[in-house]
Amino acid sequence: MKLKCSSKPAFPWFGMDIGGSLVKLVYFEPKDITAEEEQEEVENLKSIRRYLTSNTAYGKTGVRDVHLELRNLTICGRTGNLHFIRFPTAAMHRFIQMGRDKHFSSLHTTLCATGGGAYKFENDFRTMADLELLKLDELDCLIQGLLYIDSVGFNGHPECYYFENPSDTQNCIKRPCCLDNLFPMLLVNIGSGVSILAVYAKDDYKRVTGSSLGGGTFLGLCCLLTGCETFEEALEMASKGDSTNVDKLVKDIYGGDYQRFGLQGSAVASSFGHMMSKEKRESISKEDLARATLVTITNNIGSIARMCAVNEKIERVVFVGNFLRINTVSTKLLAYAMDFWSKGQLRALFLEHEGYFGAVGAFLELLKSSDDA
């Protein structure tokens, strides 16, 4: 993928995606700074670079995903590393304040932002930090970012992967893969909620549908049911739980398979169905509840995605979004669900930089926008 950039925008280069739960930030750290440049570089800019690159955690909640860092990337004639940083949207105001304290507005840069927060916080950026946002559509950014990262690869490895033997838990193996052509693809973005897009070409896509049962629902329900506070905690609990203590399976009702309709006994008949019983409610563990929540949400997304793929006649389903971060339970489940229900017709694909494509897309816009600047 070639980027069209005639003139270089001034540093720092940022792209930001302000979602419902998380803010995703990508930062380009130039590694080819000449001595001359270094001298001219204002102190502000230096301190920002140093702050971001020398730390992996910012404040209490900001995190740099070091393992995702893209090294030796050449963009618009500059070579450097692309950093991936995230923090909760709840900390947005603190972030804006930091921008003010570090006199961000004195740097001649455009702040490219996408996601709903670009709209919601636009005024706060302006009044609190004297910063103007360049607001970008989140779905445009998502697709552009995804295509770009896929094209540059992940430090020499493919960005994309899938699961081999998805129906066999013992032999289910993650396999990287290079796709010659991504189109058409069904792009399922699982953030707080879910958006499903049918992408036919770089600039040709439509939003097929969406669902309110997404990552926010998983975490929200887990917090209410188990008292946990973070996504990591919730996933940790889920990894230890057993959802069949919570869900009613076909065999719980029919004693085995429901043969009239070819339903396996192990299929979930009713999510949380066992919880209709008082005794079972009282004896259930938090881990089981967390697992059931995760399985319920994941299966539901899988089911909707599969139906959309069939309706849109698309065989390649790409799952992205931060719900999938450190969430192998869900990725494997989605891979299995796509394979099983479609009898091998559909393949679930995943991307290493799962939640960052919107921010990357915004970052790319910065480079493009400099044309007009």
């Binding site: 739960s21 549908t209 926010g216 009702i253 429901y258 009713s270 019983s277």
Partner: protein
């Protein structure tokens, strides 16, 4: 999945002091056979087939070879016992299952029955109890198969079975017309999980999908979140909550709408999204509401995806999640509207709770071939929609000494009913002119009117059975029953589908039959027929002397004047009751002068100047003067013109409407006097065919199959519909594919005023379909 969660209702013990009202529940048990039972998570539905013995008035001709004297009646009326088939369905809470089984055991006489068909998630749990109590072998049937069978049955046999739910409309329930072809459709059963079934034909259906997020998820997850145990209570909580406190909306992320995608700010972006980021307590109500939205929207979305994939537009919802709960019907409707942008409507069924029991019953009754008959909902024996309030608390129940139950009774009709082949568009045909469910003013009036008329009906019923002393008591029971129905309809106009004048009349007939008043007007009809016959020749002669134009007008006027004689209309029955001499001539004077309220007479007369019609189908109305002095001279002229005539009359009695058996005798007598009629009968140019109905109104989508065949074979090109019941209350807007005359005298000042006229205003509606709409 069609599975019911049977949890939290663990105790099936009950207060032994509760007694069953034998007159009301499990009726006709003594003749019951073929039992079926559907046991769900909380409700049991029992079905059985029984025969009902009731009196019918039979009309038999005297032998007229002997010289008759003036005072002799024309025919003999005898009351005979007739046996008809009826299906009984009773729904009650699982807690009462043992009491009910005991009751059945004690009252069951028939011992031929060996097997009870069973379905539903709870069937295995109660298997031993049923086998022990009833000494019947429990034979399990597949739940989904039963559900589909039941669904096909109600869709085919019960008009206004399906409805659209509109929470904020004047009438929450919008009933759908029965489509002549019920297939294909999609049934979404929301039990503890969700099953999505595509039904293509009677025995052809397939589970095309499903979801594990269903009623069990709402119940289970809801119980965990709110510590509320019961499903009903959870729904109540939900109806009071604010989901926006728990859900993350588009505006919570964007600050407003996401304009470029057309997503409004109020749209839920992430269910329970706020509980992930906000560190605060959430109210039970808010969480329950959020959960309800989450599940309803999810099901709605899946339903739409499947409907689209399979190209299905008729989507019915059922299962315990839906069952009579306005809250869930509303959220599902909302969701379907949202996801299909109004292209698909969510449909619900009045008897949704009975589908499994009906299907299980039909499975067991296959050798009787119940699908070859047409069936009719008996309004007298059926409880109607929302009869048992789910919120009725146990204290109230205990105090009433009984327990809440709901009933459905279906009568087997003697003949198969089909559409009138001359309907322009059977799919859009609506028999009733005014839907009283939606027209509150008209509803008020008619309910009042029927209540006012009740005393007279009771009096008439008693008078019709003077020789039976216990008739007074029965008539009183009838009064109570019908009054209770009227009261129910006042509060729940939607109880039996769209409320119409027709349904009010039919309900009254059903209630009269229930208490063995099969034909309260039999003697009056007899007297009037006798009297009118005496004038027949005089009327015919006086008409013959007139010029052609004058004659046509006199015949039309005579037809209308005859129609003034109607015991069904209160204004007229008052006059008739006080002045039996009220004559035909006086009636003519009562008629409105031309121009009539609706006056297409000139077009009609122009048409008569043209070639004769091939065959006229005449839906007749009242007996006595109406049929003898109004209709016969009119059709006599048609016959002379060379038009064949089919007189379609009621199969069973209703008010003073002439029945087919009465009409047979009358025609015979007229033929004996009048060579024109005699020849027409002999040459089969005049045919008497029953219409398959026992209603004072007329539903052209449910006519005797034989009549439909006759109409087709004879190349009928003119339909005449006479009387308020058949041409005004029903069929006023019916579009036919051939010429039609709709004739009536408005014998009700309120209705006349509504139509812009006065009492005794005349409707003379002559319609010719435009060329494009003609079938021939």
């Amino acid at each position: 999945m069609a599975l019911c969660g049977g949890a939290d209702r663990g105790s099936h013990s009950m207060d032994k002091s509760i007694t069953l009202p034998p007159d009301e529940i499990f009726r006709n048990l003594e003749n019951a056979k073929r039992f079926a039972i559907d046991i769900g998570g909380s409700l049991t539905k029992l079905a059985y087939y029984s025969t009902v013995q009731h009196q019918v008035a039979k009309v038999r001709s005297f032998d007229h070879s002997a010289k008759e004297t003036d005072g002799d009646p024309l025919y003999e009326i005898s009351v005979q016992e007739e046996i008809t088939a009826r299906l009984h369905f009773i729904k009650f809470e699982n807690a009462y299952i043992e009491t009910c089984l005991d009751f059945i055991k004690d009252h069951l006489v028939n011992t031929e029955t060996k097997v009870i068909k069973a379905t539903g998630g709870g069937a295995h749990k109660f298997k031993d109890l049923i086998e022990k109590k009833l000494k019947l072998k429990v034979d399990k049937e597949d739940e989904m198969t039963c559900l589909i069978k039941g669904c096909n049955f109600v869709l085919k046999n019960i008009p206004h079975e399906a409805f659209v739910y509109a929470k904020h409309a004047d009438s929450e329930f919008r009933f759908q017309n029965t489509h002549p072809d019920i297939f294909p459709y999609m049934l979404i059963n929301i039990g503890s999980g969700v099953s999505i079934v595509k039904v293509e034909a009677e025995d052809k259906f397939e589970r095309i999908g499903g979801s594990s997020i269903g009623g069990g998820t709402f119940w289970g997850l809801g119980a965990l979140l709110t510590k509320t145990k019961r499903f009903d209570e959870l729904l109540q909580l939900a109806s009071k909550g604010q989901h926006t406190n728990v859900d993350m909306l588009v505006k919570d992320i964007y600050g407003g709408a996401y304009g470029s995608l057309g997503l409004t700010g109020d749209l839920i972006a992430s269910s329970f999204g706020k509980s992930a980021t906000t560190d605060k307590e959430f109210s039970k109500e808010d969480m329950a509401k959020s959960l309800l939205h989450m599940i309803s929207n999810d099901i709605g979305q899946l339903a739409c995806l499947y409907a689209k994939l399979h190209n299905l537009t008729r989507v019915y919802f059922g299962g315990f999640f839906i069952r009579g709960h306005p809250v869930t019907m509303h959220t599902i409707t909302y969701s379907i509207n949202f996801f299909t942008k109004g292209e698909v409507q969510a449909l619900f069924l009045r008897h949704e709770g009975y589908l499994g029991a009906i299907g299980a019953f039909l499975k067991g009754a296959e050798e009787d071939n119940p699908n070859q008959y047409s069936w009719e909902e008996n309004y007298a024996g059926s409880s109607g929609l929302m009869s048992v309030s789910p919120e009725l608390n146990p204290v109230q129940r205990a105090r009433s000494g009984t327990f809440p139950f709901d009933m459905l009774e279906m009568d087997r009709l003697e003949r198969q009913l089909v559409n009138l082949p001359l309907l322009q568009d059977a799919t859009s045909y609506i028999p009733d002119t005014v839907d009283l469910t939606e027209d509150a003013l008209a509803r008020e009036y008619w309910l009042y009117c029927f209540e006012e008329a009740l005393d007279g009906v009771v009096k008439r019923a008693i008078a019709s059975q003077k020789d039976q002393p216990e008739a007074v008591e029965r008539a009183e029971k009838f009064r109570q029953k019908y009054r209770h129905k009227l009261q129910t309809l006042r509060h729940q106009p939607f109880a039996y589908g769209s409320l119409t004048v027709r349904s009010l009349l039919d309900t009254r007939e059903h209630c009269l039959n229930e208490f063995n008043f099969p034909d309260p007007y039999s003697k009056i009809k007899q007297k009037e027929n006798d009297m009118a016959l005496k004038y027949y020749l005089k009327v015919v002669k006086s008409v013959e002397e007139l010029s052609w134009e004058q004659r046509q007008f006199t015949l039309a006027k005579g037809l209308l004047a005859g129609n003034v004689f109607d015991w069904g209309a209160k204004a007229v029955s008052d006059v008739l009751e006080s002045d039996p001499e009220f004559g035909f001539e006086q009636a003519k004077q009562q008629l409105q002068e031309r121009p009539w309220l609706v006056d297409a007479y000139n077009q009609w007369i122009e048409r008569l100047k043209g070639p004769p019609h091939k065959c006229a189908l005449f839906f007749v109305d009242n007996s006595g003067i109406d049929i003898i002095l109004g209709v016969f001279p009119f059709i006599r002229e048609l016959l002379i013109r060379g038009t064949e005539v089919v007189l379609a009359s009621n199969s069973g009695p209703a008010l003073n409407d002439v029945t087919n058996s009465e009409l047979q005798i009358l025609t015979e007598r007229i033929a004996a006097m009048d060579p024109v009629i005699h020849a027409a009968l002999r040459e089969d140019r005049l045919a008497l065919v029953q219409n398959g109905s026992s209603s004072p109104c007329l539903d052209l989508s449910r006519l005797d199959k034989v009549l439909a065949t006759v109409i087709r074979e004879r190349g009928t090109d003119l339909v005449i519909i006479e009387g308020m019941g058949r041409a005004i209350h029903t069929n006023y807007y019916a579009m036919l594919s051939c010429e039609s005359l709709k004739l009536a005298v408005i014998k009700n000042s309120w209705l006349a005023e509504r139509l812009g006229g006065k009492i005794f205003s005349v409707v003379f509606k002559y319609e010719v379909p435009s060329k494009a709409q003609e079938q021939h």
